[in-house]
Symmetry: C2
Subunit: 357 residues, 2 copies
Amino acid sequence: MAVVCALTITFSYGQSIVYTPASDLTLVGKILPTQQVYHRVDTTDHPLMPPAVKRRLTNSAGLAIAFKTNSTVIAAKWCTSSRKTLPNMTAIAHEGLDLYIKNDGRWQFAGVGRPKGDCTAYTLVQNMEEGEKECLLYLPLYDETVSLEIGVEEGSSLQAMKDPFEKRILMYGSSILQGASASRPGMAYPARLSRDTGINFLNLGLSGSAKMEKAVADMIVTVKADAFVLDCVPNSSPEEIRERTAYLVNTIRQHHPLAPIIVIPRTVREHGAFDEEVGNWVKAQNEQIELEVSKLLRSGVKDLYLLSYDKQLGDDHEGTIDGGHPNDLGFDRMLQQLKPQLLKILRKYELTPTKGL
Amino acid sequence: MAVVCALTITFSYGQSIVYTPASDLTLVGKILPTQQVYHRVDTTDHPLMPPAVKRRLTNSAGLAIAFKTNSTVIAAKWCTSSRKTLPNMTAIAHEGLDLYIKNDGRWQFAGVGRPKGDCTAYTLVQNMEEGEKECLLYLPLYDETVSLEIGVEEGSSLQAMKDPFEKRILMYGSSILQGASASRPGMAYPARLSRDTGINFLNLGLSGSAKMEKAVADMIVTVKADAFVLDCVPNSSPEEIRERTAYLVNTIRQHHPLAPIIVIPRTVREHGAFDEEVGNWVKAQNEQIELEVSKLLRSGVKDLYLLSYDKQLGDDHEGTIDGGHPNDLGFDRMLQQLKPQLLKILRKYELTPTKGL
């Protein structure tokens, strides 16, 4: 891999910082090829999808830049759209950056890019030891990343590196999957799964819009993936679950005959403990998905799995920011339950990293 | 307790909602009497405190409203200052509301007030069972609460209730104590401690400004408290820790001869693993506070405790939003270590609830 071209030089804290377009480096987590490099899916290729889905697909959730550098400083300049941060998210998660550096063989948090409006220049980390570092920079979860440049010290190296993750597991789901309400982009649950396992979990979280529409199912099956995880319960009405689950599962099976399809069978709305309408709605959603998957299994669909997810976000009801969206504590409890089950299935299909876990 | 006067009636979702000023109900977590009811300390009484400290004392961190109602809906109308939400916080935590309802003897999350600008009307929870509920509504952590009204169904009861927490433990510290970066007001760590233990932990978190200045120490000792917890390491330089810890501790001891003084001895900055300057700074802060407390203990100060806090925010480096501020996962890990130690000390002084824990 060649050292990429430096485009701009600016000065930060007395150091000369050289900026390089992130698109010259390695883009991790990409679902389908797109014209705008930080979109997840090119919506012009799938015109029948609902407008809300198309808008979500411009969000850079799950995308990250992988690179190596021997710089002691890492900075970034980036622009997002003018979309305002939602009240149940931090601006860092919504439109900021999140940097990890490999340390003793593990990805370790190193710094965030705090947004200061739609365009920001920020030093993510500085005063580091000399020597080469492997870096992974997560992009905004809930905004469109319009441009991104990565800055290193003048005279230091900056190189694309091999995608650190193996295989491709497409995760299709709601805001919870997209990253609401993780505190920063790297805390979205597919990102945590990837770092923990070395497997490439692709984030097709569509906030409020994971409703299993036919046009979305038809787009999903064009994705080159080794397995499919469906986390669509939160956004789909019991009726939609009843009407649409079979088409989604059968269409994936038809186009990907050997890929396991793994369903996350429940959602949680903590305020549903008091709001009886919400409680009944969630109960009906959860019962309906179990029913649909059971029917599909009985009809002979192979390699289809329904995960067990009983304890959900813990038993103290503190695992969400607003009842419906896990906070980092809720996500941690969720992964403690789901990760071992996911890995057990993926291992069976030889979809875990060659080095083992 | 009399049913308080209804002031305004509006209509929400077809229901008639009657609003009552929250100041007519029970204010929980109050540190000192103030003219503006949702300030924590009246800064005109302590003119020598630094301007930044005075500004923080107008934030309603740690304050909550306790009330009983048989309404099936709870709504709120509130106004905050024009201060913008920080990028490392959610707007719900910064300027929103957080409602808990007693369920089987425990405080349980019931709903949030999502801010929509400086003034908001919002239904926190609805469709509840009939019957009386005990409620605790947390106020914004990082903004001034200018006004607050609580709404219930017309014809339902709304009453002040007894403060649910016993004793008074003053916690003085930084942004971490004030609540950065909990996902919502009720997840600030003193609030979690109060709900978990039944003890009244008072939030004197002063974001960026817990520097143990003499004028602040002189204000602190005027607070009627049964114990003092000091979590000032994050904001104080090693030099300030060296120069100011003794005055703070000795002045508390002089004015509160029997109150235990409990020091949280460390702070964490996860990016300090890579940023050597930050890493060295934090190491120096943590060493200095241990040194100062050891000196005070050797000089004969009684009832002074230094907590043990080694594992800090866990070992995966995922417990913060930005390196310095815990996310809800980090706070949970922090409490798992600190809570048993705090309770052990408070039990010794008979400062745990009469019902026991």
